[in-house]
Amino acid sequence: MATAICIQNSALFMYVLGRADDALILGHRLSEWCGHAPMMEEDMALANMGLDLIGQARELYTYAAEVEGAGNDEDKFAYLRDVQHYRNVLLVERPNGDFAQTMMRQFFYSAFADCYWRAMMSSTDPTLAAIAAKSEKESAYHLRHSSEWIIRLGDGTDESHRRAQSALNDLWPFTGELFQANPEDDALFAGRIAVDPRGLLQPWTENVTAILRSARLTLPQSQWMQKGGRSGQHSEHLGHLLSELQSLQRTYPNATW
């Protein structure tokens, strides 16, 4: 393997790569919990969700490589791209924080992924439709699991409520980017290859606010939304995550593992 790869630019390729990056980075974050969760059942669940997401990332990277046709593969995309070439939303690179932060991040992402993958099952691209069929089942479970925790944390003890509210306030500004569409994606939407995420905002908002209400949590006043990940403008956190994730491939270029 070379020390770094450049990525070519086609709308479908960049689109698939961005979804793969979302799944990989969130899966990686969840794997950081392994062995350190509040209870053994949750060690299992977080690892399980992480495994699902890493599995989705692998399928999407493999398809991106096929679309690109430049001889890259899942590992080159994951291990040999620098921060500015990653296209994941900022939400998934947020650090784990406490359990409330992790679950709130998971809840926001899963609530999006659940309706996103369900809609993508009708993609005219058969590979994306097949990946969607598998990912939808997984996301539905992730949403159920994270929703149940949000309700328990929000409506549990004073401390858990405070932590859940704080997680909500901190992470809410990172939800807007999930629904951001790039102008170059228009042809994909028109051909029904990909789903326009703007159309998912309403069902997402309804689902999320219903759960937050059950959890006795209140939406923050500010509606300012952060963005940048989809165009390669990331937070400070992603570089550290990648330096760890990519360390062996970068230290021993051209080795097979």
Partner: protein, 329 residues
């Protein structure tokens, strides 16, 4: 947290042992019958098994830490997924084993507290650090390999819940062992740096793995009683020898050198002779002075302490729901 009823101490009824009960119990064990949770059993049998099963469970849970150390640095996505699945399996084994131990009347919370307080032991092997990626291969190959040698006979243990748990655990461990060996095959056929990494890991893990089988037979405290009760089927030294005999050809296939200058094939016995094990090191690690004892316990205590508010929230929510249901009825 789910089994508070088990937190109460044993009733007197269970400890009232008479000769007839003991002899009936021993006859059942001798006839290879499985003892089940509700069957009468001598208090010492219960105590021995509770100690053994919970120690096994603690080992699975603490064992997540050295491997978890490489989850975020696994060198390919396939390796990352396989390692995460493996560590998740270890957690599952821990849960399964705590459940088996609970059937003997001690709750998981109590058992976990014993581990966190340092009163209960876990396998000393997890007090060694994982320094390179090759350690992940070596743990699968040797540590899981040694665990399988120990655990396959436990599938026939006289205590039913433990024996049944072991059947599933052994299947998964055997998969882990093959996965670890496959990492070693890849590394040993890789670049000079990768091969050196593989040799370095073997050099560090070999002797601690031989120690996993426990003290030599003349010094083992629990051997005789456990053998009579068909908890233990083979002696420490027999299992150790079996492990060495199986592993030497595997190391040769990898073209790696086992770090023992006294390792020689013995035509007369049909086994590999091996050098002296440093039991002082073993005792030292057991006494809490291994390279990672403090770090491992600190990590488990941190997870437990920092997770307390989450567990409390789940309980408080369940209580509220219960009150609502009662009020509505």
């Amino acid at each position: 947290m789910y089994t508070q009823a088990l937190n109460a101490s044993q009733s007197d009824e269970l400890t009232g042992e008479d000769a007839a009960k003991i002899s009936r119990f021993e006859a059942r064990v001798a006839a290879e019958e499985r003892i089940e949770a509700n069957d009468w059993m001598p208090a010492a049998y219960r105590k021995t098994l509770t100690r053994q099963i919970s120690q096994h469970a603690h080992s699975e849970i603490v064992g997540m830490l050295p491997e978890g150390n490489w989850l975020t640095r696994a060198p390919t996505l396939r390796r990352k997924a396989a390692l995460l699945a493996k560590v998740q399996d270890e957690c599952g084994h821990g849960l399964y084993l705590y459940a088996a131990a609970e059937t003997l009347g001690t709750s998981r919370e109590e058992l976990v507290d014993q581990m966190l307080s340092g009163k209960a032991k876990y396998s000393s092997i997890f007090n060694y650090p994982t320094l390179t990626w090759a350690d992940i291969g070596t743990i699968g190959w040797l540590v899981d390999g040694a665990a399988i040698m120990n655990q396959i006979p436990l599938c026939r243990c006289s205590y039913g819940p433990y024996a049944r748990a072991m059947i599933r655990v052994c299947k998964e461990e055997s998969f882990h062992q093959r996965q670890g060996y496959e990492i070693m095959v890849t590394l040993s056929r890789g670049t000079p740096e990768q091969k050196a990494m593989a040799q370095g890991a073997l050099d560090r893990w070999w002797w601690p793995c031989l120690m996993m089988f426990g003290p030599p037979d003349q010094q083992s405290q629990h051997g005789d009683q456990s053998t009579r009760w068909k908890i233990k089927r083979f002696s420490n030294d027999d299992l150790r020898q079996k492990f060495i005999d199986a592993t030497v050809p595997q190391a040769r296939y990898l073209d790696l050198k086992i770090p023992d200058d006294n390792l020689r094939w013995n035509e007369a016995t049909g086994h590999w002779d091996y050098g002296d094990i440093d039991w002082q090191e073993f005792n030292n690690v057991l006494a809490g002075n291994g390279p990672c004892n403090r770090d491992r316990l600190a990590a488990r205590r941190k997870a437990h302490d920092e997770g307390a508010w989450v567990r409390e929230a789940a309980l408080a929510y369940a209580e509220k729901q219960k009150r609502k249901t009662t009020a509505a009825a």
